[in-house]
């Protein structure tokens, strides 16, 4: 039987979908909308730094970034192929999408080290 990476990609897609659903709305609400609009004060830099200094938080952030980016990459791959009728270029599109997710994960890991 031919081996294919598709089940693992769907697994990453599902995991990333759940993580993105649970965490991203509150983070973008706070840091992207309420704080810039002045509804909520920005926390002190030391407070945020103290949160990020915890090794479990750093590891969790890298995992969150990787899962969310793989989720997005998987959806962008399939949606772009359906939307524009370019499924015949699947290999190139997959490489671009998942390559971007891997690159984002590497950036996150470098930031956290």
């Amino acid at each position: 039987m031919r081996r294919t990476p598709e089940p693992y990609l769907w697994l990453l897609f599902s995991g990333g979908g759940v993580v993105a659903a649970l965490l991203l709305p509150v983070l973008v609400l706070l840091f992207g909308v309420l704080m810039p609009l002045g509804v909520v004060d920005w926390p002190a830099a030391e407070h945020l730094r103290a949160l990020l200094d915890s090794p479990p938080v750093r590891v969790a952030l890298v995992v969150v970034v990787v899962l969310c980016l793989f989720h997005a990459a998987h959806r962008v791959r399939h949606t772009s192929e359906e939307l524009f009728g370019i499924a015949r270029f699947d290999v190139v599109i997959a490489l671009l999408c998942y390559g971007g997710a891997v690159a984002g994960g590497v950036v996150a890991a470098v930031l956290m080290v």
Binding site: L24, G32, A72
Partner: protein
């Protein structure tokens, strides 16, 4: 706009409607749901910029960037998209997972309700640690 049918050495290829997603409301909602992934990716990039600013000591500059009108508009769209993603994704769970308790199949609304309750709880915990924490 439809392209012509094609008969190639590889086989018959029926003509394709380039605007198939506009044919019905269900298709449009489907495509909108899929496109939330672009804003998921953007939100991750935005948060990585925030982490970089915090670790690099440039939080005031990041706050100034985040307060620009175009950036706020982009993040309002990202908020709407990530909420749409959360609602639709968490609602899909009962179709992917069948939970049985002593032979009794849990109804979909119970699984969805549990998911949305978890979403609220996680959001509250994250907001607590970001805004206040144990001081």
């Amino acid at each position: 706009m439809k392209t012509r049918d094609e008969v190639t050495p590889g086989g018959y290829r029926p003509r394709r409607d380039a605007f198939w997603f506009a044919r019905s409301r269900a298709y449009t909602v489907f495509v909108l749901r899929e496109l939330t992934s672009v804003f998921v990716a953007w939100t991750v990039v935005f948060l990585l910029l925030l982490v970089d600013a915090v670790l690099g000591g440039s939080l005031p500059e990041f706050a100034a960037l985040a307060a620009r009108p175009w950036m706020i508009a982009l993040n309002v769209l990202a908020l709407a998209a990530t909420c749409f993603h959360a609602i639709t994704f968490l609602n899909l769970a009962p179709r992917a997972t069948v939970v049985r308790l002593d032979g009794y199949r849990l109804p979909a609304w119970l699984i969805q309700g549990g998911n949305h309750s978890l979403w609220l709880a996680v959001s509250a915990v994250v907001a607590f640690f970001v805004l206040r924490g144990f001081q």
